[in-house]
Symmetry: C2
Subunit: 201 residues, 2 copies
């Protein structure tokens, strides 16, 4: 499948470099991330960056796509992989909280809402990507709720869309608090009653 290409082989992994770039953007923001920051984190020189990703702007958009599409540890994926709906909701919130407060490399909060959001009205293409990311998250939550309604787990009058947006929006609160460096104690404490809230109990 991976056909051998002629010419000098690339000395770095494209996905690794892209993830490294995303972390820099996450921590410093688009304008705060200099080319030197990016190339040193990606462990490549700028000509390699330009030949593979285009320019700084294209690299930024690719980082956003990489975050939304290729993240197996995203709260959304965890939510979808847990069969029990109540546990799934809690797992979503817990994953959102954990990933926001992890701070292994300075990546506090959420890449999209804590960093990319700033550039929404300024950097070309960002606002559209944010829109679709949010609406797709809403849709995937709704889809699961509708599934549970069909199976009789949730009541037939369960307001899927309102509750999906609720879940998503609650995550933004966690994200902002984490970015501000607040301890996760109170957020951890709120988990249980928020899960019940989403379920309408």
């Amino acid at each position: 499948m991976t056909q051998k290409k002629i010419g000098r082989p690339r000395a770095f992994d494209k996905n690794e470099a892209l993830t490294a770039a995303m972390k820099v953007f996450w921590i410093k923001g688009y304008d705060g991330a200099s080319m030197k920051d990016l190339t040193s984190a990606m462990k490549i020189n700028s000509p390699s960056l330009y030949s593979v990703f285009g320019d700084k702007h294209a690299l930024y958009l690719a980082s956003i796509d990489n975050y939304t599409k290729n993240n197996p540890a995203s709260p959304l994926v965890i939510f979808e992989s847990e069969p029990n709906i109540e546990k799934a909701i809690r797992a979503f919130m817990k994953a959102a909280l954990d990933s926001a407060t992890k701070n292994e490399f300075g990546t506090l909060g959420c890449f999209l809402s804590s960093s990319v959001a700033t550039t929404a009205g300024v950097v070309d293409g960002v606002q559209e990507k944010l829109k679709t990311a949010i609406l797709e998250a809403d849709a995937r939550l709704v889809k699961r709720f509708e599934f549970e309604k069909q199976n009789g787990v949730l009541a037939s009058d369960f307001p899927s869309e309102e509750r999906a947006r609720l879940m998503f929006d609650l995550r933004q609160g966690y994200t902002f608090r984490a970015r501000a460096g607040l301890k996760s104690d109170s957020m951890e404490n709120d988990l249980s009653f928020r899960v019940k809230m989403v379920l309408g109990e």
Copy 2:
């Protein structure tokens, strides 16, 4: 009270200039806002900016303070000025939504969570200001809830702190959606059931 000072009088209003600077930071972010952006929006030259505000960094911190302390249209102030608790909660959410989606100058979302948050781990002093802003918002919401409990309007077992954080966090959802340029229709629709949710009904 306003004593006449010797020397050439200042040709601009400090607060107006500060508000203009804040809008630039709000729209473009700290690193995205150049000195040229700032001085042209503030309608002053850079030497005036430096003599009055210090430097770009100090101006940024002053902008944050100005936003948190001198904003009579903030959802928090509106919440506190409405006597009826249910109307107050709704007014808070409505004000948060309106201010986030107004977009008169490109100032979508909320200055703190849509713009300042990006710089939390990078620009000195920002994270501390965010922490205190969040905790103070929580505290002011809690204070009101406790007041209503003493008056018998809210039940004595009303969980003020959880609901305060809930209100605040719901706002972050609105903020993020608005920054992404989403229409306010669905958010407007969610208002009513979210108010009931905060009240525990």
